[in-house]
Symmetry: C2
């Protein structure tokens, strides 16, 4: 990467994902000429150190994007809806980590290991998929490519950091209160702003995001719809049950998948995943080797293990997929999209 650097803005710089975006840009040496940190009015004025320089977070306005070439958004869907097109109007390419534009026909939804080519179709905005979707499609893409996918049934085990810093704080505070045998008063989870709040410490809560008319949550529908869009195949049957756990960071997924072609076995799945970009195989049952959220935290790959062939269905396979939801599930994937844009000559 010999480019002298780009003028970059991060919208939502004070959030859990924004913090990881900054760290990841630095760690992977993305070429940066200038960095602007933006947020809501509430967080404006905060100081954040980036590359040994203290930056002041500014309130994001349409004018903030003058001169910006790349804007990474992660400040909630309403902020993206209000400002992403303003940024594009001023010449920036937007990589948006919210759900605002993901299902928009004119917006590519990209996991670089799966559909980098879709970036060519962008109209200024590129959407970063939902965290749970990213790690699943990254792990299943090698199977889809060589054997086709007919069916996915996924149950998730999701970390609270996906719901933001307030959710992390609530989990730790509530855990200590329960250990002290004190009363708890849930206020954030399962969904900030929803009518009821439930205990997350020492519990498993089968609600992430609000409910739709059909009984599925939006999080579940994101996994269903985004998987089909990223894999460019509306015929894959996808079903999801999304569950929040008292885990800080690291989403785990129990995935059942049926392939179209015959002839796949566990050894072949392992060898496909060993060669897959962005995937690390951790699958040695006899030595109790399998992915764990506690181990995946802070790491880039999507970890896959517990691979078994279904006992009744020879084209069916089970696996356990784990990734850091703030990294591959969010910040890392956004930064990878930025690198892909440079590589493809779409950002220059």
């Amino acid at each position: 990467m010999s480019h002298a650097g780009f003028h970059v803005a991060i919208v939502g710089a004070t959030g859990a994902v924004g913090e990881q975006m900054l760290k990841t840009l630095d760690r992977l040496s993305f070429p940066i000429a200038s960095m602007k940190l933006l947020s809501s009015a509430r967080s404006a004025g905060k100081k954040i150190t980036f590359k040994n320089e203290e930056l002041t977070v500014e309130e994001a306005t349409p004018e903030s994007f003058e001169g910006i070439q790349l804007a990474l958004f992660s400040a909630g869907g309403s902020v993206s809806k209000a400002l992403a097109k303003e940024a594009v109007k001023r010449g920036a390419i937007v990589v948006d980590n919210t759900s605002a534009f993901r299902m928009d026909k004119d917006v590519p939804l990209v996991v670089p290991e799966v559909n980098e080519h879709a970036l060519h179709e962008h109209n200024g905005i590129i959407a970063n998929p939902n965290c749970s979707t990213i790690q699943m499609v990254a792990a299943l893409e090698p199977l889809r490519r060589d054997y086709g996918l007919s069916r996915i049934v996924v149950s998730t085990y999701q970390a609270v950091s996906g719901a933001g810093v307030n959710a992390i704080d609530e989990m730790y505070e509530q855990t200590q209160q329960l250990l002290n045998e004190e009363e708890i008063e849930p206020k954030v989870l399962p969904v900030s702003g929803d009518k009821k709040h439930y205990q997350i410490a020492f519990n498993a809560v089968p609600q992430i995001d609000v409910f739709q008319e059909n009984g599925f949550t939006y999080e579940e529908m994101k996994m269903i719809n985004e998987t089909k869009k990223i894999m460019e195949d509306e015929s894959i049957k996808v079903a999801a049950t999304c569950v929040r756990l008292p885990v800080e960071t690291g989403h785990s997924e129990s995935v059942y998948v049926e392939v179209e072609k015959e002839g796949l076995d566990v050894a072949k799945v392992r060898s496909l995943l060993e060669e897959a970009p962005g995937v690390t195989l951790q699958d040695d049952p006899s030595n109790q080797v399998y992915p764990l959220a506690s181990e995946a935290k802070g790491k880039d790959p999507v970890f896959v293990g517990r691979i078994r062939q279904d006992i009744d269905e020879p084209k069916g396979f089970h696996m356990w997929i784990v990734a850091d939801n703030l990294l591959k599930g969010a910040a890392l994937n956004s930064v990878q999209i930025a690198f892909s844009l440079v590589k493809l000559g779409l950002l220059k």
Copy 2:
């Protein structure tokens, strides 16, 4: 129940399940003439209060069962293998909560709401199924009976109390250590006696019991094999992924089920479950009503919610099934078997 009472023994009286067996016998007023508490040599001598009487736990030996009519075993498979037949030889009926005899052709494996009639075939020993299996078959039996089942795919969210008192202690101690930012040293979970131990606090561990050659754990194979035996249908395709969580008591399950006949919808599933014995429906998404482990603890029913029809497969349904693993998953089911034995005239 007008019987003057039976001579009852509990083997494993000092364990997490044994404690609940005593409480449940008392709470449901099972007719008891005498109560003998048995355990391994290690726990012998402990005092336990039952119905305002202090009882001393004795070491279980073959002779312990002289005069016993009903023996409830929950002290591990090796104890059951060594002593259950000795108890039967001395005239007792054994209800065994371990996996020792569950798949034995001559031993009925019973969830009273599903296959109480199988008790007639007993030869002295009746097996109590695996905790995860019990709650699942209790919830699915009404669907099987009226629509037939072709496929079950289940992912579990299991509590540590299923692994015993040491596992509960480890979870709480480890949680406090992590909150204090101290080093942890896992020694019990995921499987006491296995080679490696992993962090359970703030984590999700995809191993319960040891691994089989086919990559499934024994816990997963228990769910697969026991479901077919209890439902008396080898043709049902069952697949399971079993995961341990930092929850004290209360197993949750994400279940995908396909029925054989057409015509089932969510309203009909709800009405079938509303009428099902032992099942409580908690399913009102618009008011965020669904089962939670934290609410199920200490309660008898199997709670079911999050019922949705699959988007692609009209005969496919998703649901979230939660129960207290020490009660319906173990002690309560064993006591229900005892009541059924009396009702059917098999214990008199």
